[in-house]
Amino acid sequence: MVHQYKLNGYNIVLDTCSGSVHAVDEVAYDIIAMYENSDSEQIVTAMLEKYADCPDITREEILECIDDVTALKEQGKLFTKDEYENLAFDYKNNSKVIKAMCLHIAHTCNLNCSYCFASQGKYQGDRALMSFETGKQAFDFLIANSGSRRNLEVDFFGGEPLMNFEVVKQLVGYARSVEKEHNKNFRFTLTTNGVLLDDDIIEYLNKEMSNVVLSLDGRKEIHDHFRVDYHGNGSYDKILPKFKELVEKREGKNYYMRGTFTHNNTDFTKDIFHMADLGFKELSMEPVVCPPDDPYALTEEDLPVLFEQYEILAREMVRRKKAGDGFTFYHYMLDLANGPCIYKRITGCGSGTEYMAVTPWGDLYPCHQFVGDEKYLLGNIWDGVKNTEVQDEFRYCNAYARSECKDCWAKLYCSGGCAANSYHATGSVMGVYKYGCELFKKRIECAVMMKVAEAEE
């Protein structure tokens, strides 16, 4: 499948099934658009007519370009056929390993952010902290079900995981004590609002966590609008110095400053640039996930504004990189030459199959976004997955599972999208969250454009 678009002065052609990206001039762009449904003479006639004012565009030039397009097709870099559908279903059916867990170490939080998808960390339930014994069993469950996978990932999540920091440390210690004998390599992530960070915790996180996700929404007034304590006080001034210290001492290890934008700040690039100007260089900003009738929910009218924002972001990132002051944005981090293989591209995030969330009391859910929804309770860490009907629903999720995705050029970039987003938007994990699709496609177009811009330098 070929997707053509124009952005930031570039004419870009994606051959999605081979993964190829071509930057082309206007004539080639038009020729490629006609190529599959026209013969050479029809293309020549159309091009000579369209470019009649351009004397250098001759019949010979056009025929040469058509030959180039044919050569790319023969090399498997244009008009590549989509032959991955069976692969997608077979791969997930045959894969029975679990390799990643979102460990809900604390179902409680010291902030009271009204936009929180986890309802202030409680996930529609009671406040709870995971015990060491439950966490240890979760690690044993993961190791026992990970087959030959060496890299295992555990995200300490909440709520606010630092409210149960002693258990985090005990569990990391336990995992490190058993990983070698099982030939495993644990990689830990911790997501925090920063309130409880101190020097000792910062030192510990920078030593043990391969990634930390630091919640910051950007400008002070934006951040403090939602991210408040139980007295209604904003947290920006309290957490910012701690985040700065943590990142300064990180010594090159991964981190993300992760924000959420809502209808209230559709000019969210100002928040991203604010974070970059504070010295943070690994940034992420996600659209809010909430019911459509919430006052801060993103609207249809916001969509063109958000498209423009993503373009502004991409152009500014190109400019800053050239100026030696670049930063990364999670959704624009494409590695075209050494990125994920086709299996990753078609099978999705692995929720419910190779990735699961564990509650403080040891229940298993397909991912953190389903926790608290009893319909999606998969089982627990002592007895394993018992609800195979729900698990099969997730096993079936892939880039080819939804009819709406059949002709979508972006399906090998999103793999059919987030099952939780689909569920919350349509009532089914097999539905399609169209709003999210539109944002996703724009982000990919921007990300590829940035790669083209780099290659043009």
Partner: protein, 48 residues
Amino acid sequence: MSRIKTIETRDMKKSVANGGCGECQTSCQSACKTSCGVANQQCENNNK
């Protein structure tokens, strides 16, 4: 190819044969948590 510049990319067709080890990061272990992006994860297959 004066009118077409091809950027270096991983060949998806070839990765049918040399991919699928599953050692790469789960997307929600990074900064996602509320969306699905599979194209921005790094490949960790040493045998590709």
